[in-house]
Amino acid sequence: MIVTTDLRKSFGETVVLDGVDLTVAEGTIFALLGPNGAGKTTIVRILSTLIRADSGTVRVAGHDAVDDPDGVRAAIGVTGQFSAVDDLLTGAENLQLMADLSHLGRDKGRARVAELLDRFGLVGAAGRPASTYSGGMRRRLDLAMTLIGSPRLIFLDEPTTGLDPRSRRQMWDDIRNLAADGVTIFLTTQYLDEADELADRIAVLDHGRIVAEGTPDELKRRIPGGHVRLQFADSSALRAAAALFEDAAPDEERLVLRVSGDGDVASLRRLLAQLDDARIAVSELSISKPDLDDVFFAVTGHPTTEAEAA
């Protein structure tokens, strides 16, 4: 559905994309994972024909993005990072505008508007100006507008950034439903859990390069799993505990011991039993799941740092 080879893009002196090769298969969810400034939005803008790459080739839905941008546009839907709804129009009018611009025709357009309002739970708010919508409603309207022409490929640039947890869950469900209908989805995200939750394949982008790519499982195998964080009251307890676990990393200053493990019930029970047997008192226990920082540390050797260019 998407094939790019050696994409390069600079803005002035700043190199934003430094040779990006991507392949996205039809009917899959592809997540581009990376911190702010990694070049995620630039890739989406190039793939969706908003800007041109300095060099490299882009084929989207069988059309060349440079030679046949309208061919690409007819096949795609884009929901950008910033809300692309018309605040002065109502939800229904925004959708009707998209239906008209998609040349759906009068009856088909109206039916599609009604269908999408219903599907995204916007029927009650359909007659209100979009400026009165909450953040989650705006995103849903935005997505509904993207879907109006039934695109085969959808770009979602950080679809859940800034949403509250409930709206985020709802967006995830919407994305899964789309994928179930056979739509190919290209999404960007800063969150490992989001990519893990949704994507069939994940590519990790860092400073304009793909530094890792694979299925979520493949990628997670390369990351040290989560860890259990144990807090002790004094350093003698810390040292005693550190002696029990080979791969543990003691922090003398904060009296914290990090023991690797996913924190599932069985391994936790084992861990606590070991500590009990050694009669070591733990004052606090917490479980950390791997996050973007862990991925980055594993694949690039440095933590996520925001690049200068956004």
Partner: protein, 266 residues
């Protein structure tokens, strides 16, 4: 549908959208149409009695004082109406370009030109409505044009043509602006140009440097032509000047706007 068919239907869709936006944002139109009305009343009732007595017989049309001045100043006020209305064009164009929605339009398979065409046509309608309102106020306070049907058509045609030119200019200024605030300021000089021409007093009464500027700037031939059509004063070569300026501004601004619009893709 053919490409041309899409161009027409997409432009119509955009026009509908922009008119609806204007309808939802009435304070903008009210502000823009209010300014020339305030100037009309101010100049006619505060300065008009005195200024009208200073007009030549050829310009005063046999009246004296305030009535003569009202006839003299109305064409200038109508052009000020056009200049004020196009500030709104720059503002709404900049609102679109700085918001997220323009990127949505650009990723859809729609006629490229439809976005700008929609803005220009909506602004033209807004401008003509503003002219109608201001003209209505002028007539209500005593403006009595001597124009026949043909002269009226000519006057409206000229206002529409000059408005079309300034709308393209304002569209380009709106595209060039980095923010909506900038876009609301850059076309403001247009509303001063009727003062620095023959809109409020004859250019001949001005000191040398100013008079030369007034004689050669585009508002002057347009004002003189409009005044001639509405109140029967001499037009002379101003008619040709008015047409030439309007077409030149429209063409240059259109090309500028088109380039600015295309460059945003970089």
């Amino acid at each position: 549908m053919t490409t041309l068919g899409y161009t027409v239907s997409d432009s119509r869709t955009m026009l509908r959208r922009n008119l609806r936006r204007l309808e939802r944002y009435p304070s903008l139109t009210l502000m823009l149409v209010g300014m020339p009305i305030v100037f009309l009343l101010l100049f006619v009732y505060v300065f008009g009695g005195q200024l009208g007595n200073g007009l030549d017989a050829a310009l005063s049309g046999g009246h004296g004082g305030r009535a003569a001045y009202l006839n003299y100043v109305t064409p200038g006020i109508l052009l000020m109406t056009v200049a004020a209305a196009v500030q709104g064009t720059a503002i709404v164009v900049a609102m679109d370009m700085t918001g997220g929605i323009i990127d949505r339009f650009r990723t859809m398979a729609i006629a490229r030109s439809a976005v700008l065409t929609g803005h220009v046509l909506a602004s033209l309608i807004q401008t003509l409505v503003s002219i109608g309102v201001v003209l209505g106020v002028a007539v209500a306070v005593g403006f009595r044009p001597s124009a026949g049907l043909l002269a009226w058509l000519g006057a409206l045609g000229l206002l529409a043509l000059f408005g079309f030119a300034l709308i393209w200019l304002a569209t380009a200024l709106g595209l060039a602006a980095k923010s909506v605030e900038t876009a609301s300021n850059t076309p403001m000089f247009l509303t001063f140009l009727p003062f620095l021409g023959s809109g409020f007093v004859p250019a001949g009464s001005m000191p040398t440097g100013l008079r030369q500027f007034a004689q050669y700037q585009p508002f002057t031939p347009v004002t003189e032509t409009l005044r001639g059509l509405l109140t029967g004063t001499a037009i002379g070569t101003n008619g040709v000047g008015a047409l030439a300026w309007s077409i030149a501004i429209a063409l240059a601004s259109y090309l500028w706007a088109r380039r600015l619009y295309a460059r945003r893709r970089a």
